[in-house]
Amino acid sequence: MTLTSERVEIAADPREQYTRALDEHWGDGVPLLPATDDAVEALLAASPYPADHVLCVLPPVNGVATVELVAINAAMAGVEPTAFPVVLAALEALSEPEWNAFGLTTTTSSVFPMLIVNGPCRDELGIDYRASCMGGAAGRGSMTIGRAVALCIRNIGGQRAGETTKSVFGQPARLGFCIGEWEERSPWPSLAQRRGFRAEQDVVTVHGGKGTFPMADIHNDDPRDLLYLIAKSLAYPLANMYLGNPENGEVVVAFNPMWAERFGTAFPDVEDLQAYLREHACQPIDLWPEGNAAMLRARGRVDERGQVHLVDRPDQIVPIVCGGLGSLHAIALPSFGESFMQSRAIVGAA
């Protein structure tokens, strides 16, 4: 296999490599693995595409992401060959026009790709979907796949804080965010199934999420009451979806398995659950000061009951099931707004 990317001589000492990576602006400030030829070639062997295949063009600088370049970044992140197709599929997904990579990689917002994986590959690849899946579980797949995608956006897409991206705060997911859905504990079809894939397919969905928004309750076991409170929590007044078009974007809400079971008993049909959440994800127009309220009225956001709904349609609230068995918690991944999540089947090497 002939690699065409530039070869660079670096120190063999890992600590000197780290310093060199910082000096070269390779990466995110966390130590990296060296992208040696054998590491890169092992990943390329697991790719369904040849090394020179142009997977996508990554903003903000419209860097051309060949599979070889992606493999280099994946090698630096420690991606295993079996997990490399997930990285490729995720980059293809976020390059779809409707994901709006151009907007999301440059905005002042904290939005970043958040990967949600469905299918049998979750366990095989160490993608976390149980306790502490959004940080702390340390599954190799979760930690390396998300990071590889983030490194590609940084090193190929040229996303640099304060330069090509105006993100005011960034967010922890900029080091990578890759979780699975605990499908076996979900009372509903999986996220991938609801998006048209078969249960046995490995699928990655890329959501433009602004961070993790935790919700907790210890006082109420009633599913409708809990969902009502979750809906109200999603509709926080400074949510992006109150700034732009209510018909664009999705907000992901992750239920812990214990709550999911309870919610599934009350709402066996996930569309009914989504409709209930959408109905209650609203706030009275009086909540906002007059300057904000005037804009909401001008944009026709206030309904006949004086409520301002977060989203236009139930399907814009996307439930998934994951997390530990401690109950009591849900987490939302709030939406940037001007972006639609994209899914791709994960295709391994032929």
Partner: protein, 90 residues
Amino acid sequence: MSAHARFADDVTAAVDEVAQLLRADGADLTLVRADPKTARVELALVLDGVSCEDCILPPPMLFETIEQSLHRRVAGEFELRLADPRTATP
């Protein structure tokens, strides 16, 4: 051994440990299902051979004892469901 196979073995060992205690009083503890994919452990308390039900650990204490035995052996979280004839719901 895969994590899933280990789950089943670890649960079985924990169940056997508590079952031995119960058998002294004529009761038994059976494993109904241990599903590593859902992390659910379903057990059933059998009281058919028991002459003195009061001699068996009270339901909350039995549940806690089983849970502790499982925690000592099973890696990660699990959800324990115990069908105890002495209580209204399993």
